[in-house]
Amino acid sequence: MSDMASAQTAAQHAAGELGEDTVQVTGSVPSGGETPQQRDAAKTIYEKSKAGRRAFMVPATDVPDTPLDQLIPGALLRKDPAKLPEVAEPELVRHYTRISKRNFDLDSGFYPLGSCTMKHNPRLHERVAALPGNSRLHPLQSDSHAQGALELMYNLQHALGEIAGLPHVSLQPSAGSHGELAGVLLTKAYHEDRGDQRTKVLTPDTAHGTNPATVTMCGYEVVKVGTNPDGGVDLEDLRAKADDQVACLMLTNPNTLGLFDPNIEEIAKIVHDVGATLYYDGANLNAVMGKSRPGDMGFDIVHFNLHKSFTQPHGGGGPGAGPIAVSERIEPFITRPQVVMAESSNGDGPRFELDYDRPKSIGRLRGFQGNYGVFVRSYAYIRSLGAEGLKEASELAVLNANYLLARLKEAGVAEYLPVAFDRICMHEFVLSGAPMKKDLGIRTLDLAKRLLDHGYHPPTVYFPLLVEEALLVEPTETETKETLDAFADAVADILREAKADPTIAQSAPYSTPVRRLDEAAAAKNPVVRQPL
């Protein structure tokens, strides 16, 4: 029970420490030790169900009331209804409103989750996406009755192509991982079209996990490339592994360490010299919009995470979209349909069409035209910012990251949380908690959990794998200097506290709706649905 005792002390401590900027976690922790949210035991909607309650009223049957088994053979009909909840509207609204408050969200607080670009989501975007002409447009509406949607998609294709420096864009992939799948399949189609069967794809050891996972799904062998002491691709290792069996190198630049690889031109040359393609994981594009273009760096295929650089509400993990831009040599294979513009002959102005006639296309990766609602939001963003605004967004994202890094290099922090690669970073940076673990006895996980008590969402932890006890911090351009200062102060406070008593952080958090959860037990005996 010593854990509980120290938890108690720490909870009191936390209550006193909550900063001005804290929104999510407010008020003092009561003497009983539990916050109101913690006392509010979790009940599911199924546990609030009572036979006979309802919200939905079915429209009257205005056609012959034929018994169902005369329409559909009884053997095909359901015997027992699905056990959906039985609740009235007030309970339904209250239930989901209450549990929503058990989430931390970007609107309420700082969310420096590295590699995820948690920038502000402008509310204009929700309004334009909800316009009936967008939200109530059926995906199989004829092209002539969907000209506004097709024009928007065409314009977005152009804008993304310009930002990437690659002329041909497919909006179809639904997420970054889906864009990667498209990219590796395009690579395969490209090589096979030349009668060239290749077997391997290179990924740096710093890569996002989606890169190697995608490679396997596409039937290639993953070959890892090392990282040099400056945090970039190890050129010697790359030269040694680049051969005529290599189909592609998948690279993120700036990479997952937040560093721009200054050898990118040489990397591109090595890859192209063996006939392979160069794939750009666009997760980190927010650093370089209008500053440097993947196409100019030598990349053949780029995916965009519209939910990152081009701001979508992250929705608790989706939806997003992962369009791709490709070079001329990849273009014949791009997914179909494509949105194309046809100049009219009678002077009516341009017409936009879905082009299915693409004989070398790899085909489809999903239904319909892609996540159009996401396109509307990102297009609104690009129209709001324009060329200058996009460039400024990247500049300020990089400025904010470097400023926060400078603040975290101050005495009291740097000796426990040194930056993994001491260079100017781009839009994010990686700290290592190894000295903190050794000298203070708290791990990166403990620091992350203690940040929750301070009202912050922690940075990404334990990624990239290359850095021991990694902490990947991405503040984004939409945060104020004051927020960055307060966050840096909170980190310093936690370290000072740990120096005095490491058990406080080790048992954190205290003020959240639940405290540390037993993940091992959840995985050992998975309970993935409510027993009914």
Binding site: A41, T44, T61, D62, L68, I72, A75, P81, A82, P85, L92, S100, R102, D107, L113, C116, N121, R127, V128, A129, N134, L137, P139, Q141, G148, S177, P212, A213, L259, S292, M297, T311, P313, H314, G316, G318, P319, G320, R364, G367, G370, R383, S384, G386, A387, E388, L390, A393, L396, N402, H457, E477, T478, T480, K481, R516, L517, A522, V528, R529
Partner: protein, 458 residues
Amino acid sequence: MSSYTAATQQDIEEMLAAIGVSSIDDLFAEIPEGVRFDRALDLPAGKPEQEVFAELNALAAKNTSADDEVSFLGAGMYDHYIPALVDTLTSRAEFLTPYTPYQPEVSQGNLQVMFEYQTAISELTGLPVSNASVYEGPSAVGAAAYLAKLANGRKRHLVSRGVHPHSRETLETLAVGYGTTMEEIPLSGGITDLAALKEMLSDDVGAVILQQPNFLGSVEDLAALAAAAKEHGAVVIASCDPIPLGILEPPGALGVDVAVGEGQTLGNRLDYGGPSFGFFAASQEHIRRMPGRIAGETRDVDGRRGWVLTLQTREQHIRREKATSNICTAQALNALAGVVYLGWLGKQGLVELGELLARRTAYAREALTAIDGVTALHSQPVVREFAVELDAPVEAVIARCQEQGVNPGYALGRDYPEFSNGLLVAITERRDRAQIDRLAEVLGSAIAAERGAVEVAG
């Protein structure tokens, strides 16, 4: 121009000083000169919110939405009514703006929604394990085929011609990567040809992929098809429309191993095709082969009930090249709309909705096939959609109907050359008897006019 940023000139100067550089350009010095972008992007200048609104409003107004005509379009996405509370709840910042629940202590709302959603999908499909959703319908079918490949490693996958054309094309695209081959099981009389399936089956078939109801609206006899596939040890995959599952026997009770499908009909907007969500449920034996996020129940250190992302050792961020899928996010917000919608319909409501659709669809099928020049494309049982053949060029007939404010449905010819004048007609609870009668009237006139036009031209 706005970049939604707050840095003042003074902030910038103070920050640069703290960093120890003299200009923002210094921060980009690592970018080699050869790849520095030294001109402005060729994009229009940014503009104020009200002007962006005006531009996008004008673009949206060029589209003919389901509010602008009486629409019988379906073929995978359907014009169901979305209750207001779905909008209210999905636009709450607490659901709208967080990311994947990496920190479960501050993501319990999101994780509980996933758990409740998984329960609802499990109930609908009759299968014990559901993930927290995947991208959308056809890609979910593709993901299911990969599960089959992981399960048995067999190379031949058989897919019914009754499966949505977009799903079949997605399967073809992915098969190149999976190293599998796709063969099509033909249709007979509007349903999957059981005899043909039996002939195609052998012990090298890894998966049999079906759809319920199929693309032509027919309710398939999944039990018979699944039993045939099981004799050869194939994984049986069914792509299902969740609304008809309110009245149809669930796939899990009929021998289906993996049930997937498009979730748009559950409280999600048409949105010209997305975003929506795909659902993915499977039998217990496949739990560790599932793609995507899964929420599981557990306890915190004080014994409080809570939820976490579980079975993460399947996933790309842990397993990398050995992961069961590259998928890293769900469609959490869309799945939230789904579970709220199902809660709104409730246990009885889903059944009543299904019954209403079946009766109105039967009425519409009768009304349309009574028209001179319209015949039923098949006579199989249907729930919410049916196919007819016109004795006139279907695209021209659709155009004539649209001029009268009625969109009669989807022309089958593009995907099914054998039904070159086929029309697929979808019914939802928003299409009442009067609208169905109007469809019959407009369609009849359009066909008559088109035949007249052909005669005149002839």
